[in-house]
């Protein structure tokens, strides 16, 4: 709510500012689009580019296709506003979840910038342009890394940025705060999670062909909505009539989002010259909430340009860093009525399935080519091979009939056309 007031106040101040002159006012409309066709070869394991999108197996035109509209309103040399709306096959269909950017910006001095509204989180190398396929090398941002990133790609709040030349390089430091609610699909379930009191700090240093990035954030979880988890928690809370089996209630409380926090830290480096584009990022999630366990994820990508085509290959990995608990049966269970035993055993099975679906443990490699066809069109072809370890398919939609304890290999072929206009 605080940020709505900030937005309203900033807008009001801007509107009445006497320094806004008609000559300064300038409005630019532009857009971007990706038309994608891809094929995933395992009918039981559905792929989605990130947590926000629907997942599909087999052929799909929707996995990575996207349409974006962008408007920049320059009010004067100090003030401007940016709005960006995208359309993509997301789990949420509310307009609010398609508004990627909507901020007012004030540049009080050459080195300082303040933004308020819906802003990009700036925690990742691609966080400012994740949806603009033309702007990056691959058919989609590295899956193991940017699936997590998608949950806090933007937030409602404000940030302050400081820029400076240091040692013949360019340093940018940004501090932001706000909140965001992610409507997402994780482990095949529709979920809604609010990240409250989200603080972000990032620093980028550019020198010659190099970019170095470090970022950290902290947030509290709240307002967790999930039909499946609600049923599970209700069941767990009602499962201990003998008061001798504490684990169900304990698990139910650990599924609750309240009083849990997440710390995120990330490092990124890019080398980008005439022909080479080498890029790597590593991120670490530290979370004490059982629904989003701690994990580490990262990737490295190497591209080499020959004339208009850049050939590339990437390796990415994501893995939980702590063991996932298992729900155990009670010693008292055989002595309870049979119908109770059956219900309890089913609840234990469902709970252990839900716990397994929070696990991410995957590696992937890809090969691809990016053809700079024209100044406004890039064509891409990419082949991915994903290796999902036992119970490691959190980023995927799994058929409930398959054995999630088994390892799975999935191949994905993608052909994309990316425009800017």
């Amino acid at each position: 709510m605080l940020f709505k007031y900030i937005m309203a106040l900033t807008f009001f101040v801007t509107c009445i500012s006497s320094s806004v002159k008609a000559d300064d006012l300038n409005i630019d409309f532009s857009g971007f689009a990706t038309l994608s066709m891809s094929y995933s070869d395992d009918p039981d394991i559905a792929f989605s580019s990130n947590y926000l999108n629907n997942s599909e197996a087999g052929f799909s035109f929707k996995r990575d296709s996207i349409l974006g509209a962008h408007v920049n309103v320059t009010l004067n040399s100090d003030w401007d506003a940016v709005a960006q709306v995208i359309y993509q096959d997301r789990s949420s269909t509310y307009f609010n979840d398609f508004l990627e950017l909507g901020f007012l910006r004030y540049r009080p001095q050459r080195n300082w910038t303040v933004r308020a509204g819906r802003i990009n989180s700036d925690l990742f190398l691609l966080s400012e342009y994740t949806n603009v396929g033309y702007a990056y090398l691959w058919a989609r941002p590295p899956h193991a890394y940017y699936s997590f990133a998608s949950t806090v790609g933007n937030y409602d709040g404000m940030d302050v940025e400081y820029n400076s030349q240091i040692n013949n390089g360019f340093l940018r430091i940004k501090l932001g705060l706000g909140q965001t609610t992610a409507e997402l699909i994780a482990g095949g379930e529709d979920l809604s999670i609010t990240f409250d009191d989200l603080y972000t700090l990032s620093a980028v240093y550019l020198k010659n062909q190099w970019t170095f990035r470090v970022a950290a954030s902290k947030s509290n979880f709240s307002n967790f909505k999930s039909t499946a988890f609600n049923y599970l928690m209700d069941g767990l809370n009602s499962l201990d009539p003998t008061n001798t089996w504490p684990q169900p209630a304990q698990l139910a409380s650990e599924f609750e989002a309240r009083n849990h926090t997440m710390n995120y830290s990330a490092l990124g480096v890019v080398y980008d010259d005439m022909n080479w584009l080498i890029q790597a990022e590593i991120g670490s999630v530290e979370s004490d909430w059982m629904v989003t366990p701690s994990n580490v994820n990262g990737y490295i990508s190497v591209g080499y340009r020959i004339n208009e085509v850049t050939y590339y290959s990437s390796f990415s990995v994501a893995k939980n860093t702590k063991d996932t608990p298992k729900m155990l049966s009670s010693e008292a269970l055989p002595y309870l009525p049979e119908h109770y035993q059956l219900a309890a055993e089913e609840l234990i099975r469902q709970t252990n399935y839900a716990l397994s679906r929070t696990i991410v443990d995957q590696k992937s490699i890809n090969l691809g080519a990016n053809w700079h066809y024209s100044d406004t069109l890039v064509l891409k072809m990419q082949a991915d091979h994903f290796m999902l370890e036992s119970s490691g398919g959190n980023l995927w939609g799994l058929n409930s009939q398959i054995n999630i304890d088994a390892e799975h290999d999935v191949n994905l072929i993608s052909v994309n056309a990316n425009w800017v206009f």
Partner: protein, 144 residues
């Protein structure tokens, strides 16, 4: 044999012309601009959208020569060692992040000079041979 010599001479002439042409790029501003000199990093800051102003805090309006022209290609190669296609991808990143707008593209060197003549905020790159008394040089790309 004579034909080969003639072709060789012509190729040499063309390559030396293009070499000297590319070596002569200068960064110019309106002669009334208070800035008299820029460093290479300061030119990069303005042309890559890192700063919206000259070092003295006044607005900067960078101008780009036509897309796919040799001069534009030479300019970015010398300035940041990047091809034009990489520059295009760079600007897609910067622009759609809402961070900055790319330099305004002009139709020709004369067009750039005309715009500089009318605006003290403008900055452009031109061959030194095209200098006029309405602009002043603030950086020479062959200085480093």
């Amino acid at each position: 044999m004579q034909l080969i010599k003639s072709i060789m001479s012509l190729l040499l002439l063309v390559s030396s012309y293009s070499y000297s042409y590319s070596q002569d790029l200068v960064i110019v501003v309106n002669k009334n601009n208070s800035i008299n000199e820029l460093s290479k990093n300061e030119v990069i800051d303005i042309y890559m959208g890192r700063y919206m102003t000259f070092p003295d805090g006044k607005s900067a309006k960078p101008l780009d020569l036509p897309a796919n022209s040799k001069l534009k290609s030479d300019f970015y190669l010398k300035l940041v060692n990047q091809s034009e296609q990489k520059i295009n991808a760079y600007w897609a990143r910067v622009f759609f992040s809402g961070r900055a707008k790319p330099p305004e593209s002009v139709e020709s060197i004369d067009d750039a000079l005309n715009q500089l003549k009318d605006s003290e905020f403008g900055i452009a790159y031109i061959p030194e041979s095209k200098l006029t008394d309405t602009v002043k040089v603030v950086y020479r790309l062959n200085e480093d």
